[in-house]
């Protein structure tokens, strides 16, 4: 069994306007030492998935079904109290905006010490030493002094480093980073990504990176999962996704990546339209209203929900177009456009 395995995970939120299907039948596996990138637009269900793994929907109105297996334990049916003891220790999370994700009234050190002492029965002095150690390891200068600083006294990059130090405080085996670099400068982004890669190798933990930025996952991921409307629409190795993408939405994401080697006028090829409502999900393929290739499905795109099928070697795609058609379209229509101009 894999270290982490999700089986048909569904997270639904009942609201006054209807049922919000944030995650609707998601399955994937992840091994220790490997990195999975989950990519998608806002509202595609990426963050909801990660919160479900951590058990942070427990006690809210969310309706969760399916299975989450972590190191041989099923978490969806486990008690909230049991999942709490795993949180922070066995699995930890790095949040998007470290300024709002850290408590403004407690020093950075106090917050790391707190995280460490929940799961380790040590004195404050020992925990403090550990916190200083961690801050040094994530590259904060003069950690013995900065440990008493408050989050607002740190720069954005330093805060994210402190956040990472906090997440790593109990040597988690599963680390989930939710948009870890979105709130940061580009130069700092690269430093943080390097740091995360180094630390992952050091700890041999499983890492899930959640982002809307394909550039970030290209840096780090072994496998990539593309989400749309709460479902996985394409899954494969990083090579599959970047070299042989098969889903029109993935093509759109690749076209939306800013690149310097393209002409200014054609640099971006945005996906038309907006992400689907998760209450009234479009019938058939959720992507069909925005899909340029929908006419080629002879109406199936509008009526039938496509299956997630394997094309070859673990590469999964949820699309009505035939394999030959997708490959031909990629090779002849999309790839030249992305590379030329």
């Amino acid at each position: 069994m894999s270290f982490l395995e999700l089986k048909d995970l569904r997270v639904h939120f009942p609201t006054d306007d209807g049922l919000v299907r944030s995650v609707d039948g998601l399955s994937f596996r992840l091994e220790r030492g490997k990195t999975l990138g989950i990519v998608g637009e806002s509202g595609s269900g990426k963050s909801v998935t990660s919160l479900a793994v951590l058990g942070l929907h427990k006690g809210t109105r969310a309706k969760i079904s399916g299975e989450i297996w972590l190191d041989g334990e099923e978490l969806v049916s486990a008690s909230a109290e049991h999942v709490r003891t795993l949180r922070g220790k066995k699995m930890a999370m790095i949040f998007q905006d470290p300024l709002s994700a850290m408590h403004p009234y407690y020093s950075v050190g106090a917050q790391i010490i707190e995280a460490y002492r929940i799961h380790n029965d040590v004195s404050k002095a020992v925990a403090r030493k550990h916190a200083i150690d961690l801050l040094g390891r994530v590259g904060i200068p003069q950690p013995d002094r900065r440990v008493d600083s408050y989050p607002h006294e740190f720069s954005g990059g330093m805060r994210q480093r402190a956040m990472i130090a906090m997440a790593l405080s109990c040597d988690p085996e599963l680390l989930i980073a939710d948009e870890p670099t979105t709130a940061l400068d580009v130069t700092v982004q690269a430093q943080i990504l390097d740091l995360m890669r180094d630390l992952q190798q050091e700890f041999d933990s499983a890492l899930i990176i959640i982002t809307h930025d394909l550039g970030v996952v290209a840096e780090l991921s072994d496998d990539i999962l593309v989400m749309y409307g709460g479902k996985c629409i394409e899954y494969g190795s990083a090579e599959d996704i970047f070299e042989r993408p098969e889903h029109p939405y993935t093509w759109g994401l690749l076209g939306s990546m800013p690149r310097l080697d393209r002409e200014r006028t054609e640099r971006l090829m945005p996906i038309k339209g907006t992400p689907p409502s998760l209450i009234n999900v479009p019938t058939g393929c959720a992507f069909h209203p925005r899909c340029a290739f929908e006419p080629r499905t002879e109406g199936k795109g509008r009526t039938v929900v496509p299956e997630l099928l394997e094309t070859e070697g673990g590469h999964l795609v949820r699309c009505h177009l035939s394999l030959e058609e997708r490959r031909a379209t990629w090779e002849n229509e999309i790839k030249p456009k992305l590379e030329s101009a």
Binding site: L51, G59, R84, L86, Y106, A115, I118, M166
Partner: protein
């Protein structure tokens, strides 16, 4: 931090000076503007039976004919060093801080106020402890169980609490718990035992005023805490706290309530400062011999120096409360320290 404290202290002293000017203006300048002469001011001190000549002498001796700026200087000096009052029959010494000299009792105001201060302080502090605990606890529970029966009931009662005046709730509680035969379990009011004489009796005499006063304030605090908690419990840092694996109790109190505490602390300081200057309605309703009751009696008897003394003492407490709140703010919110 030290410069911050010094700056706030200087500001506080400055505020008190302004307050003394305004108070002086209210009691000595405004009557002049509305047509009062120095004789009519002096006649208050010597009584209605005095002859016109006596009044004239008193006005001269009390300095009512001097320029206003000189009169203010004497007034301010009296507060700092004390003053001598000479209105004819003899010189009366009014020791510092001299807040004036009663028309009726012919006694300095300050010792009177000092005698009554323990009553008001006992009332304000006791009620403050009650309302802070009850209000914050209710607010936290309401926020956590938003929309529940408890939340609705608590907020309904809180609405009643902020809307009902003390003289209504006070009298109702007196009727129920003091004069009502089956439930007469508390003191009927009107009596005060100093804490150091007999703490049990002190508390027994004050319990009903405490609860009545606390009910009024707790209601506001419950609403404030509830809205603050609803806001902070949605903050990202609460999610982070849960993601660390903290127990929900710790998440709520150490992270949630801590984040919602700042505005509560601010209001608490100001409310307490305001009450120390006299809880007028509560003291009247329960006939407690505190500063508020003193003020009401003085107003009824048109004994202006007493009213002025109460005004100055009340202003002093408000300024001090502001100062303390400002300093506490920097302790509670580390982001304030640089400002």
């Amino acid at each position: 931090m030290v410069t911050y404290i010094i700056r706030r202290l200087i500001w506080g002293v400055f505020m008190l000076a302004i307050v003394s000017v305004i108070t002086f203006a209210i009691f000595f300048l405004v009557p002049r503007l509305t047509g009062a002469t120095s004789e009519s001011l002096a006649s208050r001190y010597v009584g209605r039976t005095a002859s016109a000549q006596q009044v004239k002498v008193a006005a001269e001796k009390l300095g009512f004919n001097d320029p206003l700026i000189v009169q203010y200087g004497r007034f301010a000096k009296g507060i700092v060093t004390g003053a001598d009052y000479d209105y004819g029959p003899g010189v009366e010494r009014c020791p510092a801080p001299c807040f004036g000299y009663s028309f009726l009792t012919r006694l300095p105001v300050w010792p009177d106020l000092l005698n009554r201060l323990p009553v008001t302080l006992s009332l304000a502090l006791g009620a403050a402890v009650l309302w802070l605990i009850a209000g914050v606890a209710t607010g936290v529970l309401s926020a956590l169980k938003r929309g529940s029966v408890f939340d609705r009931a608590a907020m309904g009662i809180a609405l009643a609490g902020v809307s009902l005046p003390i003289f209504f709730t006070g009298i109702v509680s007196l009727v129920l718990f003091s004069y009502g035969r089956p439930l007469a379990i508390t003191a009927p009011g009107g009596s005060f035992t100093p804490f150091f004489d007999n703490p049990a009796q002190w508390a027994y005499n004050l319990i009903l005023p405490w609860i009545t006063l606390a009910f009024l304030y707790a209601a506001g605090y419950a609403r404030l805490t509830r809205s603050g908690m609803l806001e902070t419990m949605n903050e990202d840092y609460i999610r982070t706290a849960r993601a660390k694996g903290l127990a929900e109790r710790v998440v709520v109190f150490k992270h949630g309530l801590r984040g919602a505490l700042t505005p509560i602390l601010t209001i608490f300081g100001l409310d307490l400062g305001l009450l120390m200057g006299g809880a007028v309605l509560t003291e009247s309703t329960f006939s407690l011999p505190g500063i508020g009751k003193y003020a009401i009696d003085a107003i009824t008897n048109q004994d202006l120096p007493k009213v002025m003394g109460v005004t100055l003492v009340a202003a002093f407490f408000v300024v001090v409360a502001n100062l303390v709140v400002d300093l506490l703010y920097a302790v509670v919110d580390p982001r304030v320290r640089l400002a």
